[in-house]
């Protein structure tokens, strides 16, 4: 078992029994579910919308070279500098170089999961720079020196009391129980940072090939300010973010809003087409876009799971996942958690180290059903299991299945095995969960289902 798997199991055991955590997550997601369902219902046909979204993403991802080149040509024509980064290391070097060329000291950053993925803040801080996250949730978890709990709701696991105490100790503010007051404290602190920052860093939600634009979705106005005030702007985005046409946004913006937060449209959906143009009154003088591969092309090469690159990072699959809701976002130990994280992390960081995430699933399929771009999530979990078993078969598992196969293929043996099972099960109760129990891994925390006293075959034979 990999060290990551051991850590996951240990943490999952703790979190699954943490009733306080469960209460917080349930109440947060309860409101989300109501809003999301209302949002879905407002569409003329939600399933039709999903199919079109999936087709559009399929078209983009399966012609990624064409659309990326088109996007880059268009956006470079308006004075944006595009950098290509095949690895996380390369992306960090590029960004550090820009920051050094600009002799920058302070950086303001709006939420970007790609930056979390390559641990950009660590690199910048090690180089002696100040990086301040300006999305409220990200700001809170940054003050706690913690990774975001959820890709859309980074501070979802915290109560207002905890946030108030955090602000009190880190920012010296007065304690308060009012979410509005807490938000205003952060607003005041961050305003200062916007006005003095040399560089603004953002992520991206979509890149439009047709017109050469980057679309950023946000509620707070933090990305708008990041793209308005500092003299230099850097956008870090995965290569899979490209959409063919501007028209596609008419579908994707409302879908992202509905599935992400249950809104009809997120507060600010902004298209950026370049740095400040001649005749414009404000905006950054320079805009750098860093296109990040970082193993995305490996996922692309897996035709079976290629649709995982359709992901628009709405977080809907996390919200419905019984595993996520029980073990929580931090337990995964990954940048992307929940079903989509379990599917893509093995591709991004190695199958053998991260295969355990694909086993931590009830295979209920809720993720696949909710995904707005129809990623076949739960089948991909099964495929990861299959691929892992192929790559490194488990001796005991194979032996067990061989024995099982041997017995079920021989009716006489199967009849005996069934009898043993029926007689043996009461005995198993005596040692349930102890070291003597052959089914210990299961029975430690669960009951073993009771074997039927009459098999279907017997019932059929004996029926009147």
């Amino acid at each position: 078992m990999s060290a990551f798997a051991t850590q996951f199991l240990k943490q999952a055991r703790v979190m699954a029994a943490d009733l306080r955590h469960r209460r917080i997550i349930r109440s947060a997601l309860g409101n989300y579910e109501i809003a999301r369902d209302k949002g879905n219902a407002s569409f003329q046909d939600w399933q039709g919308a999903r199919q079109l979204a999936a087709q559009t993403k399929w078209e983009a991802i399966n012609h990624l070279d064409k659309y990326l080149e088109q996007f880059v040509a268009k956006i470079e024509a308006r004075g944006t500098k595009v950098h290509w980064a095949s690895t996380g290391d390369r992306a960090r070097e590029i960004i550090l170089q820009i920051v050094r060329d600009k002799k920058a000291h302070s950086i303001i950053k709006s939420k970007a999961m790609t930056a979390e993925e390559i641990h950009l803040n660590d690199t910048l801080e090690e180089a002696g720079l100040t990086v301040v996250e300006n999305d409220l949730g990200e700001f809170i978890v940054q003050l706690r020196h913690e990774a975001p709990y959820h890709i859309v709701f980074p501070s979802m696991h915290l109560t207002r009391g905890e946030i108030s105490r955090l602000f009190e100790s880190e920012l010296g503010s007065a304690p308060t129980n009012d979410p509005e007051e807490l938000t205003m404290i952060a607003r005041r602190v961050l305003r200062e940072k916007y006005l003095t920052a040399d560089i603004g860093i953002t992520g991206a939600n979509f890149a439009i090939a047709e017109t050469g634009m980057v679309s950023i979705t946000e509620n707070e106005g933090n990305a708008r300010l990041t793209a308005a005030l500092p003299k230099t702007m850097i956008t870090l985005m995965g290569i899979e973010k490209v959409l063919p046409r501007l028209d596609d946004l008419a579908l994707f913006l409302p879908m992202l809003a509905t599935m992400g937060t249950g809104q009809q449209l997120t507060c600010y959906n902004t298209l950026y087409g370049g740095p400040r143009q001649p005749g414009e009154s404000d905006g950054p003088e320079e805009w750098h876009i860093v296109l990040l591969d970082n193993h995305r092309t490996e996922l692309l090469a897996d035709a079976e799971q290629r649709d995982a690159l359709h992901c628009i990072r709405c977080g809907a699959c996390l919200n419905v996942c019984p595993i996520f809701r029980n073990v929580g976002g931090h337990t995964y130990g990954t940048t992307y958690s929940g079903p989509i994280g379990s599917v893509i992390t093995p591709h991004l960081r190695g199958l053998l180290d991260w295969k355990h995430l694909s086993n931590a699933s009830s295979l209920c399929g809720a993720c696949t059903e909710t995904c707005p771009v129809k990623i076949d999530l739960h089948h991909h979990l099964l495929q990861n299991r299959r691929n892992a078993a192929k790559l490194k078969p488990s001796f005991f598992e194979r032996l067990a299945y061989k024995m099982f196969g041997f017995i079920v293929n021989r009716p006489a043996l199967w009849i005996i095995a069934k009898k043993f099972g029926r007689w043996g099960q009461p005995l198993q109760n005596l040692v349930k969960g102890s070291a003597l129990d052959p089914a210990k891994a299961w029975t430690q925390t669960r009951d073993l289902p009771k074997l039927a006293q009459e098999s279907f075959k017997d019932w059929w034979r004996n029926r009147k």
């Binding site: 109440s27 989300y32 003329q44 046909d45 039709g48 079109l52 993403k57 399929w58 399966n62 012609h63 990326l68 080149e69 950098h83 290509w84 980064a85 095949s86 300006n134 409220l136 949730g137 709701f153 915290l158 109560t159 207002r160 946030i163 938000t183 205003m184 952060a186 916007y194 006005l195 509620n219 707070e220 933090n222 708008r224 300010l225 308005a228 005030l229 290569i239 501007l246 028209d247 596609d248 946004l249 008419a250 913006l253 409302p254 809104q263 009809q264 997120t266 507060c267 600010y268 959906n269 902004t270 087409g273 143009q277 414009e280 009154s281 404000d282 296109l291 290629r306 696949t368 129809k374």
Partner: protein, 224 residues
């Protein structure tokens, strides 16, 4: 080989294998012919009045202060009253048929962002008054560009954003708004196009809605 060539090479290699079509795991895949977003998006009424009513309903849900005014004079009076009751001390605006005039009504210290401005000064303004490119009935949004609305910062930095729009700027839905952008700006797009849907908000603390996270706490739309 450059990084660009490396990545594009990897992509082309990867795409040699065919991926299954979307929806192929469904029992009954929806027809493979391409549809348009408008078929699936929330319904918008046919007539202008229906659309205006929908815009007003959406605005109310979004906590937008929507001022339906019948004339320039009425807009003038309402704005002046607002400035008075909310004790505005300074405003920011830009050159424009509506915005320029509106700022003149108020006789308050005014920053005009059109010819460049000091960000710190803009930050101290109580209100940013701007025009827009369109109002969207389907979502209750205002579409602005830095060309129509006085730059990038004017509509997000001051704590109150006042939008001056004409009724005929109302469009039905998002596809119509995008069509308008394409027609209006063709191959000379402004460097930002923003769909503003209500005042700035956050739910990052216990998923409780708070207005005015970083952008404006208040959004007023005058519909002339």
């Amino acid at each position: 080989m450059s990084e660009r060539e490396i990545i594009l090479g990897r992509i082309r290699d990867a795409l040699k294998a065919q991926a299954p079509l979307p929806g192929s795991h469904d029992r009954a895949p929806v027809s493979a012919t391409t549809s348009t977003p408008r078929q699936w998006l929330p319904k918008v009424g046919e007539s202008f009045d229906e659309q205006l009513a929908l815009f007003a309903r959406n605005a109310a849900t979004l906590k937008v202060d929507l001022q339906m005014v019948s004339s320039i004079d009425q807009a003038h009076m309402t704005l002046a009253k607002m400035a008075d009751t909310q004790k505005w001390k300074s405003v920011a605006t830009h050159d424009g048929m509506l915005a320029g005039v509106a700022a003149n009504w108020l006789s308050l210290p005014t920053i005009n962002t059109t010819a460049g401005f000091d960000v710190n000064e803009l930050e101290t303004c109580d209100v940013g008054i701007s025009e827009c490119d369109a109002l969207i009935a389907q979502t209750g949004s205002v579409m602005v560009t830095n060309r129509s609305a006085g730059g990038r910062a004017l509509s997000v930095l001051p704590p109150h954003h006042v939008v001056l729009a004409r009724r005929e700027q109302l469009v039905a839905d998002l596809p119509a708004a995008i069509e308008l952008v394409k027609k209006k700006y063709a191959n000379n797009y402004p460097s930002i196009i923003s769909f503003i849907t209500g005042p700035s908000r956050t739910g990052d603390i216990e998923r409780i809605l708070v207005l005015g996270a970083h952008g404006p706490k208040k959004l007023t739309i005058f519909c002339l």
